[in-house]
């Protein structure tokens, strides 16, 4: 990606994503942390667009921003007397060491490896190709995902259904 627009977009979106992800770690209030997490998800959706993944970007907005964040907000709201702060456990120092090590290793490997990059043109549309391969080559995983979602939904309902509510 050579043109100025892509470069500016990448740096802006990367700053948005990483900045709000860091703020999610640092900030004390849990609800504000979820809101910043949503910003981070939106930044990742923008990065998908710079990678010409239009379908995945829209799905990211639909599912992460529209569904999972709402679930997180609901979880915070439905646990009213739990602490609503975002504090760390006693494992803070080992966790910092470990995550620093992980970030360092992955970055080093990715920078050090000589990737065979395929040159590609501008923005390709992927939605129809994804749809075709979902119902052709990957039809079994597709059905499995549907079953998984159904099972997860039923499981969640069964888990949170309060005992003693009479069925009519």
């Amino acid at each position: 990606m050579e043109d100025t627009g892509s470069i500016v977009a990448f740096w802006l979106l990367a700053a948005l994503t990483l900045g709000s992800a860091l703020a999610v770690v640092v900030i004390r209030d849990l609800i504000r942390a979820v809101v910043l997490l949503i910003t981070s998800f939106l930044g990742v959706a923008g990065l998908y667009i710079t990678l010409s993944a239009d379908f995945v970007a829209v799905v990211q907005v639909l599912i992460y921003v529209g569904a999972i964040s709402v679930l997180l907000l609901f979880a915070v709201m439905l646990t009213p007397r739990a602490s609503r702060d975002n504090a760390e456990t006693f494992f803070q120092i080992p966790a910092i060491l470990l995550t620093g090590l992980v970030a360092f290793t992955i970055s080093l490997v990715s920078l050090d490896t000589d990737w065979t990059v395929v040159e590609r043109g501008g923005f390709e549309e992927t939605a129809s190709a994804i749809g075709e391969s979902l119902l052709d080559k990957y039809v079994l995983p597709f059905e499995m995902a549907a079953v998984l979602l159904l099972v997860a939904m039923l499981g969640a309902i069964v888990l949170v259904h309060p005992e003693g509510t009479e069925e009519e």
């Binding site: 999972i68 997180l72 760390e88 966790a95 992980v102 920078l111 995983p141 997860a152 888990l159």
Partner: protein, 104 residues
């Protein structure tokens, strides 16, 4: 300076590290879940970056994989938050340090 594959990989690594730190060190169960979602995002970003830069133009395997990851993440979030609510109902807390019934 052109944007290459390495930029996206480094960004994904940093995002993954932030998510890992949250999953390891956050006291609140919702915070742990947020960390896990961030890790999912980092992995998805890496998938899409590889699909854009390494695989040929007609191949959308990376995209399909990301779609499946997002689906599974949605299922995981629903079940995990149901578990959080269940723990809260029984123990009146979602502090992972205090979920220690199996320690004794």
């Amino acid at each position: 300076m052109a944007i290459e594959l390495e930029h996206y990989l480094a960004l994904g690594a940093l995002l993954f590290a932030i998510g890992l730190y949250m999953a390891l060190a956050k006291r609140n169960f919702v915070g742990v879940l947020m960390g896990i979602e961030l890790m999912f995002n980092a992995v998805n970003l890496t998938f899409i970056a590889f699909s854009r830069f390494v695989s040929p133009a007609t191949d959308v395997t990376g995209h399909v994989f990301v779609v499946f990851v997002i689906t599974v993440a949605a299922a995981e979030a629903a079940v995990a938050l149901a578990l959080a609510m269940l723990v809260y109902r029984n123990r009146e807390t979602i502090d992972v340090d205090r979920m220690d019934l199996l320690k004794w």
